[in-house]
């Protein structure tokens, strides 16, 4: 059996919008190999870089936040980004688990 996979991120997005924040919704749309979070996992980011939810186990969230701020600044409606396994260099953003994920960013407007 399955319970509803729902972390109430969309409700939180709506609360943010009510307080006049600009909100970008980031959704895991594809995964390959071992990835930390399943397809449908979500996070939201506002223009200041505050975020809630997750698309990985903390591995790529900071890069997602930067991308989201970017699409708000450039007023782009959406963008697809992919993350692959990180190499040995310590501060590079990537998935330490060896998986790959595609994340879809879309502004709520």
């Amino acid at each position: 059996m399955k319970n509803s996979f729902d972390e109430k991120i969309l409700e939180e997005a709506n609360d943010w919008i009510k307080t006049n924040q600009k909100v970008v919704l980031a959704t895991v749309i594809q995964t390959w190999g071992s990835s930390p979070r399943q397809v449908g996992s979500r996070m939201i980011v506002n223009e200041k870089g505050d975020f809630s939810g997750s698309v990985s186990g903390g591995c790529v969230e900071s890069a997602v936040v930067r991308e989201c701020i970017g699409i708000i600044k450039d007023n782009k409606p959406f963008k697809k980004i992919e993350f692959k396994v990180s190499n040995e260099s310590a501060w590079e953003v990537g998935l330490a688990c060896g998986g790959e994920i595609a994340v879809y960013l879309e502004q709520i407007n």
Binding site: N3, S4, F5, N109
Partner: protein, 226 residues
């Protein structure tokens, strides 16, 4: 995503309806899919694939397309009998785990709005209360009063309706007595074995939140076991 779609999704979730969101990744357009209802021109050629995702309750991109589907299913219904101290913590856990809780307790002092704000509380005896709740094999029962007058009718209802999880609080001795009463009422050993009693997995804790944790862990375990 358009704000109006976001609001519609939230409304549909509040109404406990099942649906899917479909998004065309190349244009950012999205709409809500409802079973047996036609989709707009943007998506109608993918109707069969979308229905397949919806029926198998899966999320993902349709192969060789730019269409992403996210399905929303109804949360599992969990009925707690006994608005006791442990139930207050169960409610907290259930909120973040997205279970839909109803509390049954005929005792007004227990089942109060003050103790359980914004909860579906049914202040009736179980046999009456179950007339108000639709239950099936996707429903779970947590019986917490260890008072046979209140727990037993609820357990009998759950066994008859084949709830996927049935748990009853009480010591081994309390549970033995309970099993005997169910035998006397005509339930088989196979039926009785379906009841988790004493309820919960053994974590060792004794406080109300610890017992609630052991119960909710067993409930999650049983949810994904099958």
């Amino acid at each position: 995503m358009k704000l109006e779609i976001l609001k519609e999704i939230i409304k549909k979730k509040e109404n406990k309806s099942e649906f899917a969101i479909v998004t065309k990744l190349s244009t950012g357009e999205s709409e809500i899919f409802i079973d047996k209802k036609p989709l707009s021109k943007n998506f109608d050629k993918y109707t069969d694939q979308i229905e397949n995702f919806y029926k198998s309750k899966k999320n993902g991109v349709i192969d060789n397309t730019d269409v992403f589907i996210e399905t929303y299913i109804r949360p599992i219904k969990v009925i707690i009998v006994g608005a006791v101290h442990i139930a207050q913590y169960l409610v907290d856990y259930a909120k973040s785990l997205n279970f839909e809780i109803s509390i049954i307790d005929p005792r007004g002092y227990f089942a109060s709005e003050q103790r359980f704000p914004n909860m579906n509380i049914i202040n009736k005896w179980p046999n009456e209360a179950f007339k108000e709740i639709e239950t099936n094999s996707n429903t779970a029962l947590i019986a917490l009063t260890h008072d046979p007058k209140i727990d037993d009718p609820a357990l009998q209802h759950a066994l008859k309706k084949k709830f996927y999880y049935i748990g009853a609080l009480g010591s081994k001795k309390t549970h033995e007595n309970r099993c005997q009463r169910l035998r006397d009422s005509g339930f088989s050993e196979d039926d009785i074995k379906l009841i988790h009693g004493p309820i919960g997995i053994k974590l060792g804790g004794k406080s109300a939140p610890e017992i609630a944790l052991s119960i909710i862990s067993q409930l999650v375990w049983e949810t994904y076991k099958k």
